[in-house]
Amino acid sequence: MEKLKINGVEKEFSVEQFPANLAELLRYLNIEAATVVAEVDGRIIERENFATTKLSEGQSIELVRFVPGG
């Protein structure tokens, strides 16, 4: 099993399941990429670079989006 920490929670993937890049992870999680901004190990990833951002075991990923607020 390989792990990723996503929004503070550890998630395990089998080797076959493990997403190759950020775009794949979002598809796996069923999250619409157009509304999301991401950080991988504290580095901001622009949306157009999701597909080219490779993921590896043990990385910490933050997925954030806009919500209503004042």
Partner: protein, 256 residues
């Protein structure tokens, strides 16, 4: 009505509307429309991986409204800077409403951390609109640091108490060379009108609209109040005196 100019961008409306606390995206969209606003604030939060709700903000037409991300939830300058960078990556625009509120009970802004964050963000090319206590010295320091506005609070966020900080805000307005946007605590259209009458350049309202029984009607009431207040300010309000001053002639009375 005269235009509001922030960082070179022109706005017809002087009412900013916050998008929090609305019961549904439909009610929110209708209230935003009726308010006549051109600037709406939003927050940035983690996506809920387990339970993805639909995108509440999809109802906002981003060509029509400037989305102003806030840094709510930031407890220090570093967190606020991180949120600002994420927001910029998400919107592609570099405007940010800077909020640093370490105190969970009154949500009062931290002046030291706010100034620190503002200096960093201005250096990075952000258009910074800082939420602050009504402190004239701090407002001046932020302006000197290059912020696009200052946003002093009327009273604590969401409290609907009205313009409790009036005398300090009057000093901020007198001294400011950037737009002064009165934010937080304006609970009624009369509060917003009062802020505009003393010369505020704009106001931000969220809770008072979002938690009214009829949000769209309240949004319209705030729109009218902001316009009335601005017009009154521009008209040069008449002076106040202790004694009466007759409005009708004091001659020609029908008496002996």
């Amino acid at each position: 009505m005269d235009e509001l100019i922030i960082a070179g961008r022109k706005f017809k409306s002087r009412l900013f509307v916050g998008t929090g606390k609305f019961a549904s995206s439909k009610i929110m969209a209708e209230a935003i429309e009726k308010s006549g606003t051109e600037i709406v604030t939003v927050a940035l939060r983690r996506v809920d991986i387990q339970n993805q709700n639909d995108d509440m903000l999809a109802a906002i037409d981003r060509d029509k409204y400037l989305l102003l991300p806030n840094t709510s939830g930031a407890r220090n300058a570093n967190e606020a800077v991180r949120l600002s960078r994420l927001a910029r990556a998400a919107t592609g625009i570099n405007w940010v409403k800077l909020e640093v509120t370490p105190d969970p009970y009154y949500l009062l802004p931290d002046p030291v951390e706010t100034l620190k964050a503002a200096e960093i963000l201005v250096r990075e090319g952000f258009v910074v609109l800082p939420y602050i206590n009504a402190d004239p010295i701090l407002a001046k320091k932020l302006e000197d640091a290059g912020t696009a506005t200052v946003m002093p609070l009327a009273s604590p966020i969401g409290s609907n108490q009205g313009l409790k900080t009036r005398s300090a805000i009057e000093i901020i307005i007198e001294q400011a060379n950037v737009p002064v946007v009165v934010d937080a605590g304006l609970g009624l259209p009369s509060h917003a009108a009062e802020a505009m009458e003393i010369g505020a350049d704009a106001v931000l309202v969220n809770t008072a609209i979002a938690t009214a029984q009829d949000c769209a009607a309240m949004a319209m009431a705030f729109k009218l109040a902001v316009e009335a207040g601005r017009l009154a300010y521009l008209s040069g309000p008449a002076g106040v005196s202790k004694k009466a001053s007759a409005s009708s002639p004091l001659t020609g009375f029908l008496r002996e």
